[in-house]
Symmetry: C2
Subunit: 292 residues, 2 copies
């Protein structure tokens, strides 16, 4: 299959969308936003051999993963996804059916959150597969939550159990968009991030951006059952493994729909307490390297 | 240099911009648009060994090229660039200075058209360099020009001489944004595209999307002097070489600031006339493959 045939196939997959005035068939796509919307933009790529393995992972899962990583960034800011574009660097000998299945995975993940794919770029080369998705979000009535708003004394929460995502969940997670928008609608959430690099590293981002420190309670950190199948210390997996794609956020005490794991403090740095003893946590999360 | 140090350096390069409420330091950047703006979006990537050669091309030129390709897409639709995000797949052993220079080239090209870089993504791998830029444009008072509006009997124009860009101009061209907006402000331009794949291929896109054919006049096609340095037929270079990044557009006769090269016709297909003889042109432009 020639590259142009693949482009043609990709264009045919686009669904009509009221916000998309002109989808990918021109130099740029045209999208209409509500005048009150703030517009959010970010890009997230996956590389064969780093974020997925084309030999062993299902193409549908690979596609879902790259789109869901971007949707998870929307969740982290509590915005609604609005549209996306996809750039493909295709190995010359890739089976076009594989590309179509990856695209189908991307589209299915986007469709689940009403996020149409409105354009893209394809090129072929003799290196491995790169898929880069850029997402546009819209505030849609909710002020975006930044990483920088945490204040001393805020409670720290996560939305689900952590660790061991490498076994399968890094491919199959659900972006927490609905949860984020519900939380932010109901509580004064001060800072939020999605856990892509691991709790220790991502919470450190919130701390650095907000100018606070944090103490985690070792007994409160929810450890995913998958961790049991992995060698090493379970708590370290929950702290340092990447790609959980749960949310970590700060806000008032007493939010029952999430799991409280600690408190922000004035002293800089990330700490963990167990049995009254406090030790420092070195942010040592996910290094963007597949371990399997 | 660690990947996080590089991310830090990249963030420090961002200039304040009235439209950018939150630049790249969070999950997504936040951009404010005029409520009357239509928003345009597109992505364009460059691959080492395909669109540039990291061994022989200057990093600044490589950076300028990837941004200018995106700005040229804005020109093709007569919109103003508004902001961009950049995804980097970095070879593990790349010199950080090289990355910084490429970034500086990207930023310089964007700055020339008031287009700030507002976010991005970096990852490292053991394959070659990929740089993917996504651009947002805004209509800013001018209705975007599509490829699909050409009508039978329109004059066909290009904005400059064609062919031989591979010698150096594919790295050093200027996106025709100012020209596009002036033309569209003053004349009823019916369809427009930028010449990235070569006149024969890109004009064929206008014809297909508009449901018309086209006849080029062989004597009117402006051949760039660079073509003389290349083997082969000069006219074929002007027709088929890619990466001129001039504009090709259709509209009324008599536009003096561009070079008329032909006329749209009812019969589908792309034709060329010389000395009263008409033959068909097979779109055979640039194959996204460096020839040097």
């Amino acid at each position: 299959m020639h590259e142009f045939d693949l482009i043609q196939w990709i264009r045919q997959q686009q669904s009509p969308d009221a916000h998309v005035l002109l989808p990918a068939a021109d130099d740029l796509a045209i999208v209409r936003f509500d005048p009150k919307d703030l517009i959010l933009i970010g890009v997230d790529q996956v590389l064969d051999g780093v974020h997925f393995d084309l030999q062993s992972h299902s193409p549908l899962d690979i596609g879902r993963k790259v789109m869901n990583r971007n949707l998870s960034d929307c969740a982290a800011m509590a915005c609604l996804p609005a549209s996306a574009v996809v750039a493909w660097a295709l190995p010359r000998k890739i089976d076009p059916e594989t590309v179509k299945q990856i695209y189908t995975g991307i589209k299915a993940a986007g469709d689940a959150f009403a996020c149409p794919i409105v354009g893209g770029d394809t090129a072929s080369w003799d290196q491995r597969l790169v898929i880069s998705v850029t997402i546009l979000g819209r505030s849609a009535g909710i002020t975006p939550v930044r990483r920088s708003g945490a204040r001393v004394g805020d409670a720290i929460y996560v939305t689900g159990p952590l660790g061991g995502s490498i076994l399968s969940r890094h491919l199959t997670f659900t972006p927490r968009i609905a949860e984020a928008r519900e939380l932010v609608s109901q509580y004064p959430i001060s800072a939020m991030i999605d856990l892509s690099d691991g709790l220790s590293r991502d919470l450190a981002h919130i701390c650095t951006e907000s100018g606070v420190g944090a103490v985690l309670d070792a007994d409160l950190i929810p450890i995913h059952p998958d961790v049991r199948q992995l060698p090493g210390d379970a708590l370290s997996h929950a702290l340092d493994d990447g790609e959980d794609y749960e949310l970590c956020f700060t806000g008032p005490a007493g939010i029952n729909r999430a799991i409280r794991v600690g408190t922000t403090i004035k002293e800089p740095g990330l700490w963990i307490e167990k049995a009254g003893e406090r030790r420092i946590v070195k942010p040592g999360g996910f290094q963007h390297q597949l371990q399997n």
